[in-house]
């Protein structure tokens, strides 16, 4: 168990954390025909939208209830109603996911109550599913907002249902990319099982070109499928943050299996074991081969990862997935995370700082770290400390294809190990005499002045 360190300081420098409503919005975008709606002032939405646009390189249909001075004082119920009306007129979504922001939560607004009352009154909204999750900016981060949104969806839309043989629920965590979700879904299907994925960003935020223009999400979990989740034979939740959602489905009679991570040999082994039991099927040859290839990749990569000092800044579930994989390869971690969750405590290192990139920069320098693993905002720190920077998490705005990076399953783990080892190799250490305290060879022997030292 890692000891969680909460730095005693008032100033946060270079935030690592991303807000909870943004996480909720991202989860909502994994529903088919969806528009996420922030209940708050319009700036909240603008920043979140720009963030997601920069990361996914997609138009993000994020909307706002645009709280103004009056509604901030008197209450924003009417703003929600008006927003839904306008959104329906313009984009005709099947699903509107509302995420509250700090403003309305600070007011203490009973959004859920008002929403219930309003939907009862507005029968004309009946063909749009409206879901509300409380995601104040001041509690938790992206991971928590995402999880709260999934819980809210299950609360609102999953109902008791007759048993559907071979159907399993997959609840991917916010730390998974579109490619990660696709990889896991493929693994489940390879055992002859049929996953209902909630949310499914592999269909909506995977970076594909659609045939028409849509004002809502480009794909994702179908609402009719969500309604059947209560009939699945099991729920497979990926990430500690998804445990409460899995428990909500367990209340409908679906056995919950929570996997802290699907990165790393042992982690995937545990998942495959479960799939074997659930399906009773033979392990497909492709899966066996992928495991053998990962084993070999571990051998090749351990020369570069063994003993490597890695500075990692990530939300708890991502930190646990990647951190445990690297530690299992002999890396030593210096870790900063965003919230003190159960996953954060299980990151394999002595201490985990619940802090920001400023904390990470100080700790990385003090610890002599040689590689940085964090989202794009770490790039300036990497420059200052002359470290290779492997990007992971959200946002990644200075690279293309963030949604395509797969670090999940046997194959994704293999790719991740290569990615880390290659980052190390791309910053070769060229020894110099002074590294060992040796004096320079007498310049009288030199034919030409030596080139400048490149460390």
């Amino acid at each position: 168990m890692a000891r969680l360190i909460h730095p005693d300081r008032a100033l946060s420098t270079n935030p690592l954390k991303v807000s909870a409503p943004l996480g909720a919005a991202m989860a909502y975008l994994g529903i088919e025909g969806a528009i996420p709606l922030f209940h708050g002032a319009q700036g909240c939405t603008a920043f979140a939208m720009v963030h997601m646009v920069r990361h996914f390189k997609e138009a993000i249909p994020l909307q706002t209830t645009a709280m103004n001075e009056v509604s901030a004082i008197l209450g924003g119920g009417e703003q929600i109603e008006e927003a839904i009306e306008n959104i329906r007129k313009r984009a005709n979504p099947k699903f509107i996911g509302i995420a509250s922001t700090a403003l309305v939560e600070t007011r203490g607004e009973d959004v859920a109550g008002e929403l219930r009352e309003m939907l009862r009154r507005r029968t004309d909204f009946a063909d749009t599913s409206v879901v509300y999750a409380a995601t104040p900016d001041f509690a938790g981060g992206l991971e928590d907002g995402w999880a709260r949104a999934v819980e809210a969806i299950i609360d609102a839309l999953a109902v008791p249902c007759t048993r559907r043989p071979g159907q399993v629920n997959l609840l991917p965590g916010s730390h998974m990319t579109s490619a990660d979700v696709e990889e896991v879904a493929g693994l489940i299907r390879a055992f002859g099982l049929n996953p209902v994925i909630l949310p499914d960003i592999s269909l909506s935020l995977d970076g594909h070109l659609a045939e028409d223009w849509r004002g809502h999400s480009l794909g994702g979990t179908k609402l009719v499928d969500i309604a059947t989740m209560g009939g699945s034979i099991a729920t497979l939740a990926i990430g500690e943050a998804m445990r409460p959602a899995a428990e909500k489905l367990a209340a409908l009679g679906v056995a919950a299996h929570v996997f802290p991570s699907l990165t790393g040999l042992k982690a995937v082994d545990a998942f495959v074991t479960t799939l074997m039991k659930l399906s009773g099927a033979d392990v497909p040859a492709t899966v066996r081969r992928d495991r053998a290839r990962l084993s070999d990749a571990m051998l090749d990569a351990h020369f570069h990862i063994g003993g490597l000092k890695v500075a990692m800044g990530a939300e708890p579930d991502l930190g646990l997935a990647l951190g445990s994989t690297l530690a299992a390869m002999g890396a030593e971690l210096t870790v900063v995370t965003t919230t003190g969750s159960r996953a954060a405590e299980r990151i394999p290192t002595a201490e985990v700082i619940v802090g920001d990139l400023g904390d990470l920069e100080r700790a990385a320098e003090a610890g002599g770290c040689k590689l940085l693993l964090t989202h794009a905002h770490g790039r300036m720190m990497a420059e200052r400390l002359h470290m290779p920077h492997v990007r992971a998490g959200f946002p990644i705005f200075d690279r293309l294809g963030a949604q395509d990076v797969c670090r999940t399953g046997y194959r994704g783990t293999r790719a991740f190990l290569y990615e880390i080892a290659n980052a190390v190799l791309s910053h070769p250490h060229r020894p110099r005499p002074e590294d060992f305290g040796a004096a320079r060879i007498s310049p009288e022997f030199d034919h030409a002045p030596p080139p400048p030292s490149h460390h």
């Binding site: 982690a267 074997m276 299992a328 110099r432 040796a438 034919h447 030409a448």
Partner: protein, 487 residues
């Protein structure tokens, strides 16, 4: 093969400085030092390769290979000799002979043009021109071309006549160094000489190993005047004849140049190694003793003893905390020459068991050393077939293999840790600090938690009662002792 080259090879096989060689019969000696190659069972480099190993680390020289593409196109940029100065030696220069060049006999002309271009492009301290199988076969006279080019361009252009087919890597070492004796040594004079000037021959400064030792020499005021070939400048080869003592770093192949320096310039030489604690100390002592015999201030010996005492104490203190991490581990050494014994004693001191050491390329002297150190010759073996080695490692009769890159995958595929101790390695292990690094490398290799995961059965190999769908357990906390022997 030209008469001259034949002659040269025959002389290379006579080495009065080498006890092994002297003890041989006339006919045995003619066969050379290396074992004759067996078609169908031969592996390893050729004479050209050997010459390149010996000379290419000379840093400010343009190494130009007169050959079709394969010789250097496939060979350059594969070794880690570090330079503190020029980076020129890391560029790959070749005449890249085409079919037309060969058929039309354009080889010499192309070589001359290539020399002109490389001088214009890089302004090297010198150009070393290597002949190879094809260019020797078609009769290109690189000696004549080099001579003409040197006169024309006013720059040393040194022919290195080493077609691959003449023999092994070992022979190539000799021929390469021979070219230096013939064309370079003694051609320049140092600005100043001191009684503490030495030559170091046969250290390649792999990953900076020479610099792990150099601070010791710096502290004693000893200057490396002449060098072949780690971090060496051309001038240092040219000035070798003014040093007071030559240290030959564990290479019988380079003995000829040390002997010739003694014969022609009266410079005494000794063989020594910077691998392992006791060898490093012995090398320093011998060097200082010989320097004092040649007129260096007598207090050098006391200063040397004080330095050794201090360094050895510090090294042992640094090794102590590593001992529990490596103690009881069983190492299989698969390397050649001096490395068969030079690190053994230091490892044994740390409680590491050396379960075997190969005697490839080892001399009788090496054998004796091994027997001395290990108390028995039971652990010596000759070549080991990969299949046999795989079996041995798979049966876990050793915990770690220390070898060169070629047997790397025998170990890894047997799921056994491997440490590179050959010329391609990326970690420096010389001198006192290098010993600590080597033990750290062993710790890092054998205690990597990855092995436990790797050796665990796949989910489909587990019996139903073993299999658990409990989410995985985080056993891999850094610093914890991974116990892969439990698997």
């Amino acid at each position: 093969m030209s008469e001259a080259l034949k002659q040269k090879i025959q002389t290379a096989f006579v080495e009065p400085g080498c006890a092994t060689n002297v003890a041989k019969s006339e006919s045995e000696r003619k066969k050379g030092c290396a074992k004759q190659l067996t078609p169908g069972a031969a592996a390893g480099g050729c004479a050209f390769d050997g010459a390149m190993i010996a000379l290419q680390p000379i840093t400010d020289v343009a190494h130009l290979v007169h050959a079709p593409l394969a010789c250097w196109g496939n060979g350059w940029d594969n070794r880690g000799s570090a330079s503190s100065g020029s980076e020129l030696y890391r560029k790959g220069f070749t005449t890249d002979l085409s079919e037309l060049d060969i058929v039309m006999g354009n080889g010499e002309k192309k070589l001359f043009r290539a020399i002109r271009e490389v001088i214009a492009q890089e302004s090297p301290a010198a150009v070393f021109v290597y002949s190879t199988c094809v260019t020797a076969l078609i009769g290109d006279d690189i000696g004549a071309v080099c001579k003409a080019a040197a006169e024309r361009f006013g720059r040393p252009v040194i022919p290195v006549n080493v077609p691959g087919y003449v023999g092994s890597k070992n022979l190539g070492n000799k021929l390469g160094v021979d070219a230096l004796v013939e064309h370079v040594v003694g051609t320049m004079e140092p600005a100043t000489v001191t009684p503490l000037d030495v030559n170091i021959i046969g250290d390649f400064n792999l990953s900076g190993e020479l610099w792990q030792v150099k601070p010791l020499l710096d502290r004693l005021g000893i200057r490396i005047l002449g060098s072949i070939s780690g971090d060496a400048r051309y001038a240092q080869v040219a000035m070798m004849h003014r040093a007071r003592v030559t240290m030959l770093v564990c290479s019988h192949a380079f003995m000829a140049i040390a002997r010739k320096l003694e014969e022609r310039h009266g410079i005494p030489w000794f063989e020594g190694s910077f691998y392992g604690i006791s060898d490093t100390s012995a090398a320093l002592r011998t060097m200082c003793r010989l320097l004092v015999e040649r007129g260096a201030p007598a207090d050098l010996l006391d200063r040397c003893d004080a330095l050794i005492a201090e360094e050895e104490a510090r090294t042992r203190a640094e090794l102590a905390p590593l001992r529990p991490k490596v103690e009881g581990r069983r190492v299989l050494l698969y390397t050649g020459g001096h490395k068969t014994w030079s690190v053994v004693s230091a490892l044994q001191e740390l409680g590491v068991e050396v379960v075997g050491t190969s005697m490839r390329k080892a001399t009788d002297g090496d054998r004796e050393r091994v027997t001395d150190i290990m108390g028995t010759d039971a652990h010596m073996y000759e070549n080991m077939a990969p299949k046999e080695m795989y079996k041995m490692l798979r049966e876990a009769r050793a915990d770690v293999l220390m070898s060169g890159g070629r047997s790397q995958f025998v170990a890894l595929k047997a799921r056994v840790p491997w440490i590179d101790v050959n010329q391609e390695k990326h970690e420096p292990y010389a001198g006192y600090v290098g010993m600590v690094e080597l033990v750290r490398a062993i710790d890092r290799a054998v205690n990597n938690p990855m092995w436990a995961d790797l050796r665990s059965p796949a989910p489909w190999e587990m019996s139903a009662c073993d299999a658990t769908d409990e989410p995985f357990v985080l056993s891999a906390v850094p610093g914890s002792k991974a116990d892969f022997e439990d698997c």
